[in-house]
């Protein structure tokens, strides 16, 4: 956690700073993707980078996600450190062979001889009224594959420190940014720092229940924690920050203390990240639990367009609060 009293910047600015600093530090780092250069992506996260680094290091591509992701894998194997930009997380489906069959397996299949130091930056999250093909949170797909690392930053501070570590990592790392968080402001020190991959962060200390939140759901969990406090329940909020490597120790120790847990993740709840973390807690803290570990994720439906329908599909502070009250025997 950053110190208090320092400057505040947005999540998007934190991502941009991380990229700029790493590109200044290491001439092998470059960005490649659709509308990344002058457009700076539709979310304007990359605005200004092409002006500093030029079009040979901030490279616009055709709409060919599989092609340029594959090019990223090959470039990473042979001396460059690409940051591949996949505009919407829904489009990772087009890159799956390059990521799951190529990037993830090159190091192992070659007996450790070739490395793929590549980052894929992409988005997750609903609530933008973008309908079923621009709203999914598919990070579980990559978390399932050995050889990949998956990062889910929830604050500007985490986004900057984790992205710098991801770029310096010698493995393929997928970095998911919540579209609704780009304007989120938070304290980020001006001095250089990194955050190691695989270390969870306790976003709020509590004693009665653990709310494990990832990415967009960390703010939801914090919102629920405030409501619970008013009801006399002390909630701890734990953010794993990476789904792989997963900081099992911090998750289990928190639940050993609180004896109750809800896992909130914006991916689909079934067969997803929430399910995996819930199982990890159930295995590691079984004898300390006072109730079942609950999963909360996206409803098992394609994300609908109509605003009142879309709002039903993802957990909110209120639904997490209600679930926590029930789990604590208070409803």
């Amino acid at each position: 956690m950053p110190e208090t009293g320092i400057r505040e910047i947005t999540f998007a600015e934190a991502v941009r700073e991380a990229l700029a600093e790493e590109m200044r530090r290491d001439s092998r780092v470059f960005i490649m993707g659709e509308d990344v250069a002058e457009a700076g992506t539709p979310f304007k996260v990359l605005s200004g980078l092409v002006e500093e680094f030029g079009t040979s290091r901030v490279v616009d591509t055709p709409i060919s996600e599989a092609g340029f992701t594959g090019v990223g894998v090959g470039a990473a194997m042979t001396g460059l450190r690409p940051v591949v930009d996949i505009m919407f997380g829904d489009f990772i489906t087009l890159t799956m062979d390059q990521m799951a069959n190529q990037a993830a397996k090159v190091h192992y299949m070659s007996g450790g001889k070739w490395n793929v130091p590549m980052v894929m930056r992409t988005t997750l999250g609903a609530a933008r009224r973008s309908a079923a093909q621009h709203s999914q949170s598919l990070h579980a797909w990559f978390s399932h594959i050995p050889g990949l690392k998956v990062v889910l930053p929830s604050t500007p501070y985490d986004a900057k420190g984790l992205l710098k570590s991801a770029i310096r990592d010698d493995n393929p790392v997928i970095f998911f940014e919540d579209k609704m968080s780009f304007k989120l402001k938070g304290p980020v020190p001006e001095a250089e720092y990194t955050i190691p991959l695989g270390v969870a962060d306790v976003k709020r200390i509590g004693t009665d229940i653990t709310l494990v939140g990832t990415s967009s759901m960390v703010q939801v969990a914090l919102e629920a924690a405030v409501m619970l406090e008013q009801a006399g329940i002390s909630a701890e909020v734990v953010d794993p920050r990476t789904t792989w490597p997963l900081d099992e120790h911090t998750l289990i120790e928190s639940v050993k203390k609180t004896s109750r847990a809800i896992v909130i993740d914006e991916g689909y709840g079934r067969y997803g990240v929430a399910a995996e973390i819930a199982a990890t807690i159930a295995e590691g803290a079984f004898h300390y639990l006072d109730g079942p570990v609950k999963r909360m994720g996206a409803m098992h439906v394609p994300i609908p367009f109509s605003p009142p329908l879309e709002d039903l599909t993802v957990p909110t502070g209120k639904t997490v609060f209600d679930t926590a009250m029930t789990l604590c025997g208070r409803s």
């Binding site: 470059f30 040979s56 591509t61 055709p62 060919s64 599989a66 092609g67 340029f68 992701t69 594959g70 090019v71 990223g72 894998v73 090959g74 470039a75 990473a76 194997m77 042979t78 001396g79 460059l80 690409p82 062979d97 390059q98 069959n101 190529q102 090159v106 190091h107 192992y108 299949m109 070659s110 007996g111 450790g112 001889k113 070739w114 490395n115 793929v116 130091p117 050995p146 050889g147 690392k149 010698d170 493995n171």
Partner: protein, 332 residues
């Protein structure tokens, strides 16, 4: 532009020593693959074995046009490419048998030989799976100004994969030093390519402005000549090329594919063997040009047979990896 390679454009600048080296390399691949067939049928080799027999002139003709540090990517039918780029038969056999001494510590196997020391980025068991990797290696070569070229070998089955066209488009846009070598052995597994491939093959590359050439893949001299041209051109920064090599897979899709008459006739197979064997025809040419006599070629064959026997014995005797190897190298 798509051109058919001029068959007279073959011999310039190649000396006897290099011709004999090409003969040796082609024969090494043939004998390696015959040993693979033997190991497989004796149940000493686990998994699958896809033999390159009949297609040797392509790997050798192309790789002899490359620098040692140039990159190649290969396929499930990849033993020939790896050997032609300089892999050691000993370490390849060990890998094929799943032994720790193998190129990938036994964890890759027949379809995944990789070797940074010879520029081999890896054989790939996803059809067209290495097109992105080869194109990315060419991007590195261009960015880092190393003067290297990347060669992507694939069969005509890869023509059905969209990623090939995505990457050719990128390669031409960015003028990358990559050569796409399409080995049309006429059968995508068990289906004749005419049933799966619409239109003219090189025209597909030419549509992107990629230099497209067609060559007799059974003629190592012709392959080498055109590969030299397009590799030099790529090295000069003039962009990618697509080389269609017409060839024939003498054996089945894999070693176990014995009864093939439901998809191709014995007569067709015998005709290719009799008239278009790349090694036999090249040996005849070497003799006709007085580059070598029968005795000299037979000495090469015997030396290679002895080398292969030794390599097989090494691999058979080599230990399997220990259990602690199973979760090593998942992450760098």
């Amino acid at each position: 532009m798509t051109t058919v390679s001029d068959p007279t454009r073959t011999s310039a600048g190649v000396g006897v020593e290099k011709w004999l080296r090409m003969y040796r390399q082609m024969m090494a691949i043939r004998l390696f693959e015959e040993n693979v067939n033997e190991l497989y049928t004796r149940a000493l080799m686990p998994g699958l074995a896809h033999l390159y027999i009949g297609e040797e002139a392509i790997a050798v003709g192309v790789c002899e046009a490359l620098r040692h540090d140039d990159y190649v990517t290969s396929t499930h039918r990849g033993h020939g490419h790896c050997l032609a780029k300089g892999a050691s038969p000993k370490l390849m056999f060990a890998e094929l048998l799943g032994k720790e001494a193998g190129y990938c510590r036994g964890k890759g196997g027949s379809m995944h030989i990789a070797d940074p020391a010879t520029g081999n980025l890896g054989a790939n068991a996803i059809v067209a799976g290495s097109v992105g990797i080869a194109t990315g290696a060419a991007l590195s070569a261009k960015t880092l100004k190393t003067g290297q070229v990347a060669v992507c070998f694939f069969g005509e089955g890869a023509l059905g994969q969209g990623v090939l066209y995505e990457c050719m488009n990128l390669a031409q846009l960015w003028k990358l030093p990559v050569i796409y070598v399409c080995e049309n052995n006429m059968y995508t597994e068990y289906t004749h390519f005419s049933e799966t491939t619409a239109g003219d093959i090189p025209s597909r590359a030419a549509a992107f402005g990629v230099r497209a050439e067609t060559v007799d893949g059974q003629d190592v001299r012709a392959v080498h000549a055109v590969a030299t041209d397009i590799a030099d051109r790529a090295r000069r920064g003039e962009g990618p090329a697509f080389l269609l090599c017409n060839t024939y897979r003498y054996r089945g899709h894999h070693v176990g594919d014995i009864n093939r008459e439901y998809y191709r006739s014995k007569k067709e197979e015998q005709q290719w063997l009799a008239e278009s064997d790349p090694i036999k025809n090249f040996a005849e040419w070497l003799k006709s040009q007085k580059h070598a006599d029968a005795g000299a070629l037979s000495t090469i064959d015997s030396e290679l047979r002895a080398e292969m026997d030794k390599a097989v014995k090494f691999a058979v005797a080599a230990p399997y990896p220990g259990a602690d190897e199973v979760d090593q190298d998942v992450y760098a």
